[in-house]
Symmetry: D2
Subunit: 153 residues, 4 copies
Amino acid sequence: MDVTKFKHHYSIRVRNYEIDWQGILHNGNYLLYFEVARVNYFKSIGISIDERLINGIIKIVVVRNEIDYYNSATFDDELTIYTRTAKIGNSSIICEGIMINEKTKMPVAKNVNTMVWLDPRTNTSMTVPEDFRDHVRKFEGSDCDMQTPTIEV
Amino acid sequence: MDVTKFKHHYSIRVRNYEIDWQGILHNGNYLLYFEVARVNYFKSIGISIDERLINGIIKIVVVRNEIDYYNSATFDDELTIYTRTAKIGNSSIICEGIMINEKTKMPVAKNVNTMVWLDPRTNTSMTVPEDFRDHVRKFEGSDCDMQTPTIEV
Amino acid sequence: MDVTKFKHHYSIRVRNYEIDWQGILHNGNYLLYFEVARVNYFKSIGISIDERLINGIIKIVVVRNEIDYYNSATFDDELTIYTRTAKIGNSSIICEGIMINEKTKMPVAKNVNTMVWLDPRTNTSMTVPEDFRDHVRKFEGSDCDMQTPTIEV
Amino acid sequence: MDVTKFKHHYSIRVRNYEIDWQGILHNGNYLLYFEVARVNYFKSIGISIDERLINGIIKIVVVRNEIDYYNSATFDDELTIYTRTAKIGNSSIICEGIMINEKTKMPVAKNVNTMVWLDPRTNTSMTVPEDFRDHVRKFEGSDCDMQTPTIEV
């Protein structure tokens, strides 16, 4: 699985209580892992979304998740999760994640996650804030931003 | 959202510890809810998969999940989850789920879940067992089964 | 196990994803179950704590939990949780919970939970609000309240 | 809080989805954190209990948990958990855990956990295996083992 486009990675070790009755990482935990990595990704590029989310100053909701599961993981496996922003639209952002098992170097899962900014007062979608766009553009390049202004020459 | 094709539903009440720092049901719980409903769906059509899964006699793994989130849910909301089998392939099965908020009657989320049967000895895909097909065909009709034998006349 | 002092009960069915690699309900879920039952207990006696907690108007924190595990539970078991307030002190409340397996009628676990009211502005303990005391006294009798005023004759 | 008796520690960073509607680490996660640290403690002293647990060769169940909560933790806090074996009885073992917030150096919580060995065939308690005792004695010293043979001179 090609991770060359990804500049951020985060490691998670599978915990005992996340193992299910089949002896493998329960499928519900993958979304949580991808989210933990994504939150860390945003933090690492200068976007701290936690306090403003808790206080209701900004409101970002997940509107779609796709997960493909390639190989199971089990207790104590170290998983590296690669995260990147694939696209910023008007009011939405699409992030991709790839999970690799460090022991086997095999892909474990892939995630495509779409989030939408909501106006906290009206609960309707709003334009992705400019400072957020800036941080992502600086890290990922401007290709991912559908609203990147055309530079006139 | 059209639930007329769905013959099974299951109710879940949102628990306090499932509410996140934004005051809404955390997105990771939706997959768990859909799964709880799906396990109940299989049980209700005569397929008890629990003990054979625990003992490793059968091995069924999730290979893909899609979730669309339409409206957030919050503490104590009663959610009705409609589940059906959309398709049985050679070694895979696709289930659909729709979640409705009983208070607002609004759709909350939709799930498309693909599972694959693995041979427990080789971990390679195997044909969906005939008794499993039978139970699903009886409940859903034979349209969903790609291997339903053509009835010759 | 004697549940005669308990006037409230709540039922929970064990979900598949709560089963651990030993094939039994993971020990971490018991606390969650007792809490779900306790939140329902408070709701049923007229105390709705959810919105005020989310909005930070009141702040109640758990300061101690004891759990004794008597018998394991497994998938699809129906557990009945009995909850009562054992004692209201100046700024704290002690609740007891007993969990019974409906299939075997055997006790599964027991919980003693202590919570403390905090002043949201200072994060220091404050007196349990009078309206809260009233609701509990009405349901449990005044024996549990260490501050119940002596009725003079 | 005195951690001088503890020779093992393990770090956990609080994840976003573990934060509750009050904006703090939900009380149910503490038990999970203490367990993750304890499993790592056993691994680090040479006791790998995972596969034998999954395969049902050994059966160890939690019979009691006590948690005292001293200070709340929140998103992204780094918590260090100190773990030690306090006592090995005939068929039981008592472990202690102390959780410290690395940012504030304040104690967050304390756990006393009692586990019992069960004979997998009969589900009745059995003597703690000698190889397990040996590993613990070597790491903790023989004081913790109630069955440490008196060395005759």
